[in-house]
């Protein structure tokens, strides 16, 4: 309250004197903000030609704050953007506060650029071989996490040619996964190759399902 009163008084003074107030000197603004969801180090934000490296919180899940070392003067514009995301995460302006990262210094009493980061997720999949159009009913699951995935073979295939499949849902970086057959298809017995692992930074495509006549 007090601050904004002073500021408007300052503006009035400028207007009255009709002098160029450009210099100002002591009328400075700090670009500060908050990042939620940060887990990994080395997030680099940038604004007004200055990079700001943001470290993850001491306690997982807490928001972290950042402050640009460069002071702005009244009327300077700022636009905080993600220069480099942390490894394994994607970061951006919080969609709930889309206008918080770019504005003109002095319009708000305090600048709070809101960012949010999420851990990247990737899919699980591979190739299915040995299923013809008659071998329906194969159901897979990744543990108890994302429900089940029904594998439907081509309605015209009679040879059991290989085709790609993808599990329903996705898996976050560094989470474990375990794919197994929940229901075997009609007339075939299927086994899972490379069924378990820990998610890296790319889709997993080597969980092959090999089906043979019963």
């Amino acid at each position: 309250m007090k601050l904004s009163l002073i500021r408007s008084a300052g503006m009035m003074a400028m207007a009255l004197s009709l002098a160029s107030c450009g210099g100002g000197g002591d009328d400075t603004y700090t670009v500060a903000g908050t990042v939620e969801g940060l887990v990994y180090p080395n997030l680099v934000l940038t604004t007004n030609g200055v990079d700001i490296t943001v470290a993850p919180p001491a306690k997982a899940g807490d928001p972290v704050t950042f402050t640009s070392p460069k002071k702005l003067e009244y009327g300077d514009t700022y636009n905080v953007t993600v220069k480099t995301p942390p490894p394994h995460q994607s970061c951006g302006v919080d969609p709930r506060f889309q206008l918080s990262a770019a504005d003109t210094a002095g319009r708000l009493a305090a600048i709070n650029a809101r960012f949010v980061c999420v851990v990247n997720s990737y899919t699980l999949g591979g190739k299915v071989t040995g299923l013809t159009k008659d071998n329906t009913g194969l159901v897979l699951a990744n543990g108890s996490n994302t429900g089940t995935t029904v594998i439907i073979p081509s309605t015209t295939d009679t040879t059991g040619a290989a085709f790609d499949y993808q599990m329903a849902g996705s898996v976050q970086y560094n989470q474990t996964y375990s794919v197994a057959v929940i229901t075997q298809p009609t007339g075939r017995f299927c086994t899972v190759e490379n069924p378990t692992g820990t998610m890296g930074d790319a889709n997993v495509t080597n969980i092959n399902i090999n089906c043979v006549p019963r």
Partner: protein, 196 residues
Amino acid sequence: MKSSTLLAGSALACALALSGCGGSDGDLFVGGTFVGVTKTGLVLQNNGGADLVIEPTNNGSGSFAFPQLVETDSGYNVTVKSIPSNASECKPFNNTGKVAFNITTVQIVCTIRQHELKGSITGLTGTLELVNGSDKVTVAPGATSFAMTKINEDAPYAVGILTQPANQTCTVANGSGTMGSNDVTNITVTCGPRTQ
């Protein structure tokens, strides 16, 4: 009693003013959202009235509204008449009040019953890591049993080996299936000298 007097009062005011007061035609709905509903069986009532059967959804959550519209200033009291077959309870929240506008804030939270997922181990001399999706359990050398995190009734499970013990190969039997209404206790892990 008091509320009906009030109602009568406002009805009179409407009549006198000859203006559309909305309330008296009953054009507002009572509804809200639910979570934990993956099977049929959830039935709701408003003020003990007609049954509203809630259809399950894939992820268990969704929204509902009673088809019977109600008048402004009438009271609502949404109650749970019966619960899904796989739920241990369904609790209503924000379920009573007076209707001043469409009510979308009633919440029904069903808790799905959970069951144990466990089994036995033979021959383990090193450290073994078992996983069921994102749930990881580290099993110490010499252990003869293990338990994964409990899972929901009707959920699939797929217990596999993430990391084999040093110099050993273990195999899992009965590792996958769908959780029924009883604990799963028949998963067996058999370990022996490394085969490779």
